[in-house]
């Protein structure tokens, strides 16, 4: 049913259930918003109406109405820019600013802050209401996320994301009135909560109330230490997003510029986590085949996503025998770098510093896990910096990113296949595993399938049946922890039978990771990044992990058999149950 309304005296007809904000947008009328967020495709819709910025005047209504959460009704006459609406909007923003630390110049979100942009958009030049600010303690306890709720505007996006989409439930408002803040259960430090550190709260936070833990200074120190060999490894999803902070169109592949920038920053070696992703496939596909052939526990769950791993440890401690025991790719990289590569380079393992450039904040926590300490020295991975942090480092180094010449990764651990690239988006890991499994199981087929498009897409939970050499593999994919919870509950209750399942904590997978450049509340950004990932895959001549020549060499020279003894020692890990609170 269509509903006729007028907005600023312009007549229009919109479907029943449309909000005033959406209707205005369809007419090209802009209404400023702050708390509102609609990422419809991943079901993240924050329509709490708390900030009261988007207020509009509607004929016959006593009060102004929030356009983000008011649906149209027949004959409605809406005015978006009357003096009353505009002045109320300005006062609301002034109120928010009156309770905000005005440290924009030194703030993490300077020039990238929705509140700052809003103040500029409304032309706020003076804050008429002055008064004390609410003081809260900054929480830097976790290795991933810094909570500084003095900068919080109580938009509740983090709460919606964490409670409804991720079903983790870390945040909830506590206290009341002016003292209201987003709090954790029993006011615990972030490190002591059941937070998975997926960082999705950070990616939707409009201000710097939630940010990543900044590890760039430690990396600069390592780079400037002449005794250290500092090796950068880059995750698949970085190369399709790093161009954004430098003004390149969303979805631009910047692999070559990224390598070049890392060299210019001063990394001694620039290598690729994609190499380790191929290695992961070797191990994971072998584990899958091993489990199928030896009657092991099925389904096998991918374990590349550290937020997902922490989620299952907290929420489903009885299912800890189903994830693959494979370490995540960057951890495998670290383990190989500090053994095999150290030998090749002829340096002691403790001279090597491995820096992972990740789209992820959970990887920061993962790198600190005790069980992921190297056999020879310290952690497998020393530091993890996010895509956003790398962009900052590139700026700090004064590098003109856009004009960089493409460069190639360094040898030994720099080669990768198309299969490893698609790790960066939902469905990619399982597709990569299936590519290799298909080739291995269907030995007589000279041309095994490569593109398993039935595994791709943005649907929260996807199921597919893949037939390989007469064997039917039932596969499921979930992205977003709420979707993962649904799937796991069914597995726990024995309602479903799958052979293999891929789970990624972040909606849309690593392209939408908590450490990626801010997506500007635009789902198209995530889609374009995913499309770029598949383009990168197509552009590769080798698209199956086991065909990676450097990987073959690694097994021949060092590891021996996939899923063998040495591989177990270096490339596999274990999980431990954690409390739910």
């Amino acid at each position: 049913m269509m509903v006729d309304i007028t907005i600023n005296n312009v007549e229009t007809s919109v479907p029943d259930g449309t909000t005033i904000l959406e209707a205005a947008k369809s007419l090209g009328v802009h209404i400023p918003t702050l708390c509102h967020l609609d990422l419809h495709d991943i079901k993240m819709v924050n329509r709490v109406g708390t900030c009261r910025v988007c207020m509009v005047e509607v004929d016959g209504r006593r009060n102004l109405l929030p356009s983000c959460s008011t649906t149209v009704s027949p004959g409605m006459k809406v005015y978006t820019n009357t003096k009353r609406a505009v002045s109320a909007r300005r006062q609301i923003v002034e109120l928010l600013l009156s309770n905000h630390p005005k440290e924009c110049l030194s703030c993490e979100r300077n020039q990238n802050c929705e509140l700052q942009a809003l103040a500029a958009e409304l032309g706020i030049r003076e804050i008429h209401f002055k008064g004390p600010r609410l003081k809260t303690e900054k929480d830097s306890s976790s290795y991933s996320i810094v909570k500084n709720f003095e900068k919080c505007v109580l938009c509740r996006r983090c709460e919606t994301m964490c409670n409804e989409i991720q079903t983790v439930g870390v945040y909830s408002p506590v206290h009341r009135g002016f003292d209201t803040v987003m709090g954790t259960a029993f006011d615990r430090k972030m490190l002591d909560t059941n937070c998975t550190f997926c960082g999705q709260c950070v990616s939707v936070c409009p201000t710097a109330a939630l940010t990543e833990t900044d590890d760039t200074s430690k990396v600069w120190d390592a780079i400037n230490d002449p005794d250290k060999i500092v090796i950068a490894q880059t995750a698949p999803a970085i190369r399709v997003a790093l161009g954004e902070p430098f003004g390149l169109p969303v979805g631009t592949r910047v692999t070559g510029k990224m390598v070049s920038a890392l060299r210019k920053i001063g990394f001694d070696k620039v290598m690729d986590t994609d190499f380790a992703a191929d290695l992961t496939i070797m191990e994971e596909a072998s584990e899958l085949i091993h489990r199928i052939r030896h009657g092991g526990r099925l389904p096998i769950l991918t374990s590349c996503c550290p937020a997902w791993v922490k989620f299952i440890e907290h929420q489903f401690p009885t299912l800890l025998d189903i994830p693959s025991t494979c370490k995540s790719p960057h951890e495998m990289f670290g383990a190989i770098a500090k053994t095999y590569l150290a030998d090749k380079l002829g340096v002691a393992a403790d001279k090597i510093v491995v820096v992972s450039i990740m789209p992820c904040l959970a990887k920061k926590f993962e790198a600190k896990r005790d069980e992921l300490s190297g056999k020879t020295s310290g952690s497998d991975v020393d530091y993890v910096v996010s895509t956003r942090e790398l962009a900052r480092m590139i700026r700090e180094a004064g590098i003109n990113f856009v004009n960089l010449q493409d460069e190639d990764f360094d040898d030994v651990m720099g080669e990768s296949t198309g299969a490893s690239v698609i790790f960066g988006t939902t469905g990619g890991v399982i597709e990569a595993a299936v590519r290799t499994a298909a080739a291995w199981l269907d030995k007589d087929n000279p041309n095994p399938e490569i593109d398993f498009t039935q595994l791709r897409g943005l649907e929260g939970v996807r199921e597919a049946e893949v037939e390989i050499a007469g064997m039917k593999l039932n596969i499921a994919i979930a992205h977003g922890l709420g979707n993962a919870r649904n799937l796991l509950t069914q597995i726990r209750d024995g309602n479903v039978k799958y052979h293999a399942i891929e789970i990624m904590a972040c909606p849309s997978g690593c392209v939408g990771g908590g450490g990626q450049p801010y997506h500007g509340n635009n789902i198209e950004t995530l889609k374009k990044r995913a499309a770029a990932i598949y383009k990168e895959d197509e552009a590769k001549t080798v698209r199956r992990s086991h065909e990676n020549l450097q990987i073959k060499k690694l097994y021949d020279e060092f590891l021996g058999e996939p899923y063998g003894e040495k591989a177990h020692e270096l490339l596999h890990t274990h999980f431990s149950a954690r409390d739910i609170l």
Partner: protein, 486 residues
């Protein structure tokens, strides 16, 4: 007292509230039986609509229309909620009904359940009302024993059960959607409306929610018919209203009068006028978010519309009378302190706006205010009214806006002359001894709690202004009116 007509309070103090037979003897549960056995669901709703009964909890929404909406909503499950979270300071009409006549609320909820097609009722009652809680539970148990609640009531096929849920004392939980969040175990903060509870309420099911006093009228309307009820009150506001009369009147307490009674009748005829023959200054109605009505409107007939037109509201029926000694700026500050503290913090205007208003008011009462501050109060107050998410925020500036409107001169005295005309803003008050009148009797010095008055017997005394705490004891004790305040 003759002007009172008791409908909601009819049984209070008359029957033993812990004995169901007392209630039945007054015709109790007749209305429920009448509704179930001789009226259709639509008949009940039609009666409620024609009666003109409007919600007694604050906004005055027509009860019959609420019920009708809940009746029309399609769902496998519906709820009847009773809002017994009476939170206005000084208001205790709901408490009196719950403590004095609990069955009339239970019966009305069952009638509502029958009308809208619900089988479960929940009373959200303040845990700070232990006697009300106790008597409600006794009433529920006794009614169940007699088969008046539970499965298949009186063999009619209609089933209805009621349980209690205790509120923890947050004022905002009196707002219906916050109340529902609280019952669901969530944080007491409002939801966006629409959808309204009648369509999407408790556990997202259609829910009818009325307050105690509203329900207390229902049984009488069903029993006696809507025409009977219509004889009381005005065309737009039918029936009676209970007010909690308090403040500087001679007779304080609950009064139940027909809608349309004037303030003057309530304050002077029923309340017995102002204490100590002082001058009436203002009546504050509608609880902490109501407004202050000045003397020139004493003859306004009270109903929902007239109070809103005066910048106040009916609210739940609080009525606090103020005399010439009350400072209107101080009163506004008092109420705002309450609402700012009780704001749930969800929306920006209520969370931050009320705090900023309070800071401005504090400045004014401490002599640091400016004329510009008055403009800010007006404009920010209006914005908060316009933009806040729920009724609490939308009405919290009322005490400021109404006093600004009616008592602007008093505000001006505070900001311009740094003077509090009623002498209650302690920072603006000073006491001085007039040498020509002082006899040196020493009464002031002996009564001063901080010993800051000195002087020899039979000689002029002096107040040490640095140590004076401005309590005003000397002023009131001086037998020769030798001490002036200013």
């Amino acid at each position: 007292m003759t002007r009172q007509i008791r409908i909601a309070l009819r049984n209070c103090g008359v029957i033993d509230p812990e004995n169901i037979n007392d209630y039945i003897a007054t015709g109790g549960y007749d209305a429920l039986a009448k509704a179930i056995f001789s009226m259709s669901q639509d008949d009940v709703i039609d009666t409620m609509k024609k009666s003109g009964l409007r919600g007694r909890g604050g906004a005055g929404f027509p009860t019959g229309i609420k019920w009708e909406t809940a009746r029309k909503a399609k769902s496998d499950k519906k709820y009847v909620l009773c809002n017994a979270d009476e939170g206005d300071p000084g208001a205790f009409m709901d408490r009196s009904v719950l403590e004095g006549d609990p069955h009339c609320v239970l019966e009305a909820m069952a009638i509502c359940g029958y009308a809208i097609g619900a089988s479960e009722g929940i009373i959200y009652v303040r845990a700070e009302y232990p006697l009300a809680v106790k008597r409600l539970q006794i009433a529920i148990d006794q009614a169940k024993e007699l088969g008046l609640f539970g499965e298949n009531i009186l063999g009619s096929g209609f089933s209805f059960d009621i349980r209690l849920y205790f509120g923890a004392g947050a004022f905002v939980c009196g707002e219906e959607t916050s109340l529902m969040n609280s019952v669901q175990g969530g944080r007491g903060e409002p939801r966006l409306k629409p959808p309204f509870p009648a369509n999407v309420g408790l556990w997202d099911k259609p829910t009818n929610i009325n307050n105690v006093e509203t329900y207390a009228n229902v049984t009488q309307i069903v029993r006696n018919g809507w025409e009977w009820y219509r004889q009381f009150g005005t065309e737009k506001s039918a029936g009676t209203k209970v007010f909690a009369l308090a403040g500087k009147v001679n007779n304080v307490g609950l009064v139940e009068v027909p809608m349309g009674t004037t303030l003057r009748e309530i304050i002077y005829d029923i309340g017995g006028g102002i204490q100590h023959h002082k001058k009436f200054k203002s009546a504050q109605t509608g609880g902490p978010s109501g407004g202050c009505i000045p003397a020139e409107h004493l003859d306004t007939p009270i109903d929902y519309e007239s109070l809103i037109a005066l910048g106040s509201m009916m609210g739940s029926g609080g009525m606090i009378v103020m005399d010439e000694d009350d400072c209107m700026v101080g009163i506004a500050k008092f109420y705002l302190t309450f609402t700012a503290e009780e704001s749930c913090g969800k929306c920006t205007p209520c969370r931050i706006g009320n705090m900023r208003l309070l800071e401005i008011l504090t400045r004014i009462t401490e002599g640091d205010g400016t004329e510009d501050d008055l403009k800010k109060l007006e404009s920010l107050g209006q914005t908060i009214k316009d933009t806040a998410l729920c009724g609490l925020g939308q009405s919290s500036p009322n005490p400021i806006l109404s006093t600004l409107h009616y008592f602007y001169d008093e505000y001006m005295a505070h900001v311009d002359e740094k003077r509090c005309p009623s002498g209650t803003c302690t920072k603006l008050v000073g006491y001085k001894i007039l040498p020509e009148k002082c006899t040196g009797c020493t009464v002031c010095a002996r009564n001063c709690p901080v010993n800051c008055i000195s002087g020899e017997r039979k000689k002029t005394h002096v107040i040490d202004q640095k140590r004076c705490i401005k309590c005003g004891v000397c002023f009131s004790k001086c037998p020769f009116k030798a001490i002036i305040r200013g």
